[in-house]
Amino acid sequence: MANYLAQFQTIKNSCDRIVAAVEDVSDLWPTVKELFEQHQPLKRAVLTNKTRNPVLVENLPVEFILTTDARLRSRFPHEQYLYWFREPYATIVLVTCEDLDEFKNILKPRLKLIVQNDEKEWFIVFVSKAHPSNDQATKNAKKVYAKLEVDFSSKKRERCCKLDIHGPDANFWEDLELKITECIRNTLDRRVQFYEDEIRKLTEQRFMPIWNFCNFFILKESLAFIFEIAHLHEDALREYDELELCYLETVNMPGKQREFGGFDSEDDQAALLKPGSKPLTQMVHDDSFREFDFRQYLFACQSRLLFKLNRPFEVSSRGYSFVISFAKALTFHESVLPFCLREVWVLTACLALLDATASHHNDGIVAPDIEKEFYRLQGDLYSLSRLKFMRLGYLIGYGTDIEKSPLNSACLSMLPWPKPAVWPSLPPDASSEVLEKEKTLLQATSRTKHFGIQRKPLPLEPSVLLRVANRRRASLSTGNISEIFDGRPGFTEGSGLEASPRTPSSLKVQAAPMSRTNSSPGNFESPLDRPMRLAEIFVAAEHALRLTISDHDLLKTLSSVQDFEHKYLNLTKGAAENYHRSWWKRHGVVLDGEIAAVCFKHGKYDLAANSYEKVCALYAGERWQDLLAEVLPNLAECQKILNDQAGYMSSCVRLLSLDKSLFSSKERQAFQSEVVNIAHSEMKNPVPLDVSSLITFSGNTGPPLQLSDGDPGNLSVTVWSGFPDDITLDSLILDAWLDLQDGFVHGKSDGRPTSTFFPLVVSPGSRAAVVFSISIEKTMPSGKDLQLPESILNIKYEIHGDRAAGAHNPVDAADHSVADAERRDLVFKSAIVLQRPVLDPCLTVGFLPLPSDGLRVGKLITMQWRVERLKELKGSESVEKQHDEVLYEVNANSENWMIAGRKRGYVSLSEEQGSRVVISILCVPLVAGYVRPPQLGLPNVEEANVSSNPPGPHLVCVLPPLLSSSYCVPVK
């Protein structure tokens, strides 16, 4: 079988296009060869595909070979069927003759002999050498050609065409192309039919013991190759897809233990895009192929066709799935493969796919959604290679240089360790390397986070490497393992993925006797009687990897921390860039954060800050606070180093605004002290800053508070502080003043508070008061010209910014048109209504006591006011139209009260002093709680003439409704 395969592959490799045989009857080929070859390839050939549909093939190359050529002569008939793809698809018979008798007697019988083979697809090219000026010769040639057509063409099929060497030839080449195409099409149909029949026969026998996959493969690949050289790539691809399915079926067939492969040199380098990387004879094993080689070979053939079909996207897509599924197969055989071969293979496979697909991809020639998907796949491939690269780096001790970010932790801490049958041991002469490694480990100090943030670093290990490596060393006893963990009581198994049941124990047993220089790192001589230290594990892994990895470039990237970091950065950038192009902003931005970490490490703080800002903006915008809390301190640190005070202060404020549980109070105090320090440090250019999430003002809700004579005059304004510690607001708040309504004047001239509470210190739970001194204006303006109906408390604060959240929207104090609009002052305003004392009471309105059993929601009550005349209204005729009638009006909040009857009307009240009347209305309280009762007003009487009892606004208590038994659920 190996011989057949070798022959098959050699023949296949020597043949790359369709062949047309030239039967040069009249020694014309040397004359016309050049002309024929100039008119190649066939521009528009209509062929038939496997489903018998016509397919237009453009630029189909055809090679012309004389029938006397050694390549066609020396074949045995049985070989023709085996390698039919190399047999001619058309036979062109080249003839010339200018004498009719010669044609009849000599040429015609010869031609009949040539074309009698039914299997040949043939046609005759009659070459006329007659010069146009030679009429006789031209006439003779025409006569012979006419006779030729009569003898060889039929109604069904035109078999002749004529080339005038000295005449116009426009139609000839078109005619020739049609005739060659027709021959190719017919031959192709016949051959495809033949192979299909053979393949069907073999497929039907595939569960029989005599069945041989290699025979099936040769037939199937021959058919695929026939399609491929006919440029029917789609059909060729289908053949390979079917071949793959069939192969996987045989691989997964129970009961047959097959060699997997993966032990040849350079097997660590994925060959999934190089079909010729290994001869078929090297892949064959018994009656089939080794899975490791053959699946890669098939993928390489498929991807070659996909590239020819101009579908690099599909190579990426199939490639990614292939890598994932192949990695699973490698996992299954991991214990017998070289150390970390799986990791190295996946890494090289991803990089090979990235290289090949990127060079075949042209922006804008595919639909946008395909392009987006393509970039997403590139991002996935970069991410996967990045992950494997990090894992390799970690195993040789570069873990201290890998950022312990959520991404890296999520990637690495869930990825099981490699599971070699025996963990690599330390080579005998490695003591200096171990020392060096130990030195590096000791020097590596974990970077403390800014603000003294204490966090347990996120893990990069799925379980403790020290334990896993030592446990996998065959010579170690359990007792020895326990030694090494003495003094580590907190040790746990971690996620336990290491104990994944995916590796069957039978494989481990099987693996033990297998020895191969680079697959059994246990061959190294080392002190086997004690557990290895971490530095020793790293050095041992490094040596083992040097044996596994055959690619010098890859080895170089792992040869030093600098090289490792360079490659790591390239992979990260590649992933980020492609995810951004695919509009997967979250994936892209997170990787930007990883780039930022490297920039930070190298002191490129501006680049780091830029990237961190993107990450923070993403998390903040979508309010994923846990994730923001992880990265925002990094941004703040960059900003501090860059002396970006505005940015730094903003970051500190944002840190303070995050959920309190995300940081300890000590950490939050550190944020605050940074804010205060900067606020006091006389910034050169004061900057806008949004502290709305930390300092919020809130006034009374509802209608303006009404104060009348004798009230204590408390207007409560809540200043809510989100700072963890006391905060002195002098650096934040400029000013507080009261704009008084008409009829009142300030005790002090400027409206400022009398007390000096500023700077105001706000601590959680504290209260403070600001006292304003006011008095009544002596000259009250007339009632209709009130300029300011209510007083307004203003608190102007210096901190600027837009507020999207909070209890109260700030009002702009400054004119927007001012050029320096960026520095807008914000003003908190709260309204308060002051009532002037009743100076000349003529009527008194008394609110009569309510029933003793109180008010209850839904219960009808009568509310009563007594109106009494204190003195005659002599000078107020203009106010009251009819002296013995008083207009009343009941005002109530309709949300709290339902009023029955008239709300407005006249009641009779004698003009005599002491006359009184009681006004009653029926009403129903609608809500429970302390609510303002309906108010009785006398619209036609000046406020200064009405004395009220109680004098100001007051509240009544409304009880909730009684429970109705019909709504009660009986308790058992």
Partner: protein, 88 residues
């Protein structure tokens, strides 16, 4: 097999509005953040997928090693992420 899972409800504008860690396995300290990180990234996948199907339950939209993300997308585009994983 003991499982821990993270359940998150994501509201409009991709804002998480409810989060719960459920399961019987001893929790890894960083599990909550790990889950959040994975689920947040999975929003990229969900947003692509949600427009291509009328199905509301999108099973296994994303995998992260052994973590599987499944999503229930409501009509109002509020997403629910049950995330069973296989910490043993």
């Amino acid at each position: 097999m003991a499982n821990t899972a993270c359940f998150i409800i994501v509201g409009r504008n991709d804002i998480p509005i409810y989060e719960a860690e459920v399961g019987s396995a001893p929790k890894r300290e960083d599990a909550a953040q790990l889950h959040q990180f994975i689920l947040h990234a999975a929003l990229d996948v969900v947003q692509d997928l949600a427009w291509t199907t009328s199905a509301m339950f999108l099973k296994s939209v994303d995998r992260f090693n052994d973590l599987v993300v499944s999503v229930y997308v409501t009509a109002g585009h509020i997403l629910f992420f049950p995330s069973p994983d296989s910490f043993i």
